[in-house]
C-alpha cells in the first residue's frame, strides 16, 4: 500500500504540475472532504447495524450463527482462535445476506484479531480475498439503481450476478490457497495456544 500510494501520488502530482498546478490543493481538499463525508455516512450505517448486532450478541443469535459457519471458516482460515473465528463467521454470514454495511465492522474486528494469530499472513489474505470478491445472494443496490432508472425488468440481472460473484469468490479462494503458504501445515505442537485464547474469550463474554 505504501509503495502504490507514493507512486500514484507522485505521478499525479507531476502531471498536475505540467497541466494545471493551481488545481492541486483544491483537489486534495475536495478528496479529503469526500473522505469526511464517507465517514459521516459510515457513522450512520454503523450506528444502525452495530446497534442491531449488539442485540444479536446479547440474545445469543451471534453465537448460533457463527456456530453454523464456524466449521467452514475454520477449514478456510486455518486458525483456532475462537474470537477471530467468531468475527470471521459473522462477517461471512452478513456478507451473504447482502448487508455489506454490517459486514464491515465484523471484518475490521476479524482483521485485527487474525493479525495477532499464529497463521496471520495466510488468514489475513484469505479474509481480504473473501471480502474483496464478495459473495452476495441479493445485489440490493444494483436493483435499486435499475428501478430508479425505470428498467423494464430490474431483477433480470440477479441470477447472472449470483453466478458471476460465485465464480470470483471460488477463484479467489483457490488462488489464495495456491499462492499464499499457510504456516499452520508446518506448525505442530501448538496445542496450548488456542486453549489459552479460548478461556480468555469465554472470560470476556
Amino acid at each position: 500500500m505504501n509503495a502504490l500510494f507514493s507512486l500514484l501520488f507522485a505521478i499525479c502530482t507531476l502531471l498536475l504540475l505540467y497541466i494545471s498546478p493551481e488545481t492541486f490543493l483544491p483537489a486534495l481538499l475536495d478528496g479529503a472532504s469526500k473522505g469526511a463525508a464517507v465517514c459521516v455516512s459510515l457513522v450512520a450505517t454503523y450506528s444502525v447495524w452495530l446497534g442491531l448486532m449488539q442485540v444479536w450478541e446479547d440474545s445469543g443469535v451471534t453465537r448460533a450463527v457463527s456456530k453454523l459457519v464456524k466449521p467452514f471458516a475454520k477449514r478456510l482460515f486455518k486458525t483456532d482462535d475462537e474470537e477471530a473465528l467468531k468475527a470471521v463467521s459473522m462477517n461471512m454470514s452478513v456478507n451473504l445476506l447482502g448487508i455489506s454495511g454490517a459486514a464491515t465492522p465484523y471484518g475490521v474486528k476479524a482483521a485485527n484479531l487474525l493479525d495477532k494469530t499464529k497463521n496471520a499472513e495466510y488468514s489475513s489474505a484469505m479474509l481480504f480475498v473473501l471480502n474483496a470478491t464478495s459473495l452476495q445472494l441479493i445485489p440490493t443496490s444494483i436493483i435499486a439503481v435499475r428501478v430508479a432508472l425505470k428498467s423494464a425488468n430490474p431483477t433480470d440481472i440477479v441470477i447472472p450476478t449470483i453466478l458471476a460473484t460465485l465464480l470470483s469468490t471460488i477463484l479467489g479462494i483457490i488462488l489464495t490457497k495456491l499462492f499464499i503458504k499457510d504456516e499452520k501445515a508446518r506448525d505442530t505442537g501448538r496445542v496450548c495456544m488456542p486453549k489459552r485464547l479460548q478461556t480468555k474469550g469465554a472470560g470476556t463474554r
Binding site: 478528496g31 469526500k34 464517507v38 442491531l52 446479547d58 475490521v108 464478495s134 444494483i142 436493483i143 470470483s168
Partner: protein, 171 residues
C-alpha cells in the same frame, strides 16, 4: 420481487427484536451500547479513507484515470468486455461511491436494458471494492502478503467480469 426484497431488512429487524424480547434482553440498553461502538470504529479508519479519497481525486483531476481507461479499453473489447463499461471496471476496485456514480452514468447513456448496461450491472455485483477493503479492514496493519491478496482479488474480479459479459449474452 422488488417488493419482497424491500421486506428483507424490516423483517430482519422485527425478528431480531422479537427474539431478543423472548430472550429477555433489554433492547434499548443493548442497542445503544452497540451504537456507541460506531464512533471509535470510524476514528480508527478515517485517516486511511481520507488518504485514499484524496488520491482518487488526484487521479481524476490529473487525467491519469482517463488515460488508463483509454489504454485499457481496447484490451477489454478483445476479451469480450464491451468498451462502454471500461470506466466501471477501472473504478470498481478503487471506490464504492465512485463506481456507483460511473454505473449510473453508463445506464443513463446506453439505456438501462441495453447489453452494455446489463453487463455493467452484473460486473458491478461480482466483487467489492478491493482497495477500500484494503484501506478499511487492514488499516494500520502491515502484512507482506496483502499485495498478493490484492492481485488475486483483482484477477478474480477481471475473470468474473469476462464471465458476466458472457452470461449477459446468453441469458
Amino acid at each position: 420481487m422488488n417488493y419482497l426484497l424491500g421486506l428483507i431488512v424490516p423483517i430482519i429487524f422485527l425478528a431480531s427484536f422479537l427474539f431478543a424480547i423472548f430472550r429477555k434482553v433489554k433492547i434499548y440498553d443493548s442497542f445503544t451500547q452497540g451504537v456507541k461502538g460506531a464512533i471509535p470504529l470510524i476514528l480508527s479508519i478515517f485517516p486511511y479513507i481520507a488518504a485514499v479519497t484524496m488520491l482518487c481525486k488526484l487521479l481524476e483531476v490529473s487525467g491519469l484515470e482517463k488515460a488508463l481507461t483509454s489504454w485499457v479499453a481496447p484490451l477489454f473489447s478483445f476479451t469480450g468486455i464491451p468498451e462502454e463499461i471500461a470506466p466501471l471496471v477501472i473504478m470498481k476496485p478503487l471506490s464504492g461511491s465512485g463506481s456507483i456514480a460511473v454505473l449510473t452514468q453508463i445506464l443513463e447513456r446506453y439505456g438501462v436494458d441495453s447489453y452494455a448496461a446489463r453487463c455493467a450491472c452484473v460486473a458491478y455485483g461480482t466483487s467489492d471494492t478491493a482497495f477500500y477493503i484494503g484501506a478499511v479492514y487492514f488499516a494500520g496493519l502491515e502484512r507482506k502478503k496483502m499485495t498478493t491478496a490484492l492481485v488475486i482479488s483483482l484477477f478474480s474480479f477481471l475473470i468474473s467480469v469476462i464471465f458476466s459479459c458472457f452470461l449477459c449474452r446468453i441469458m
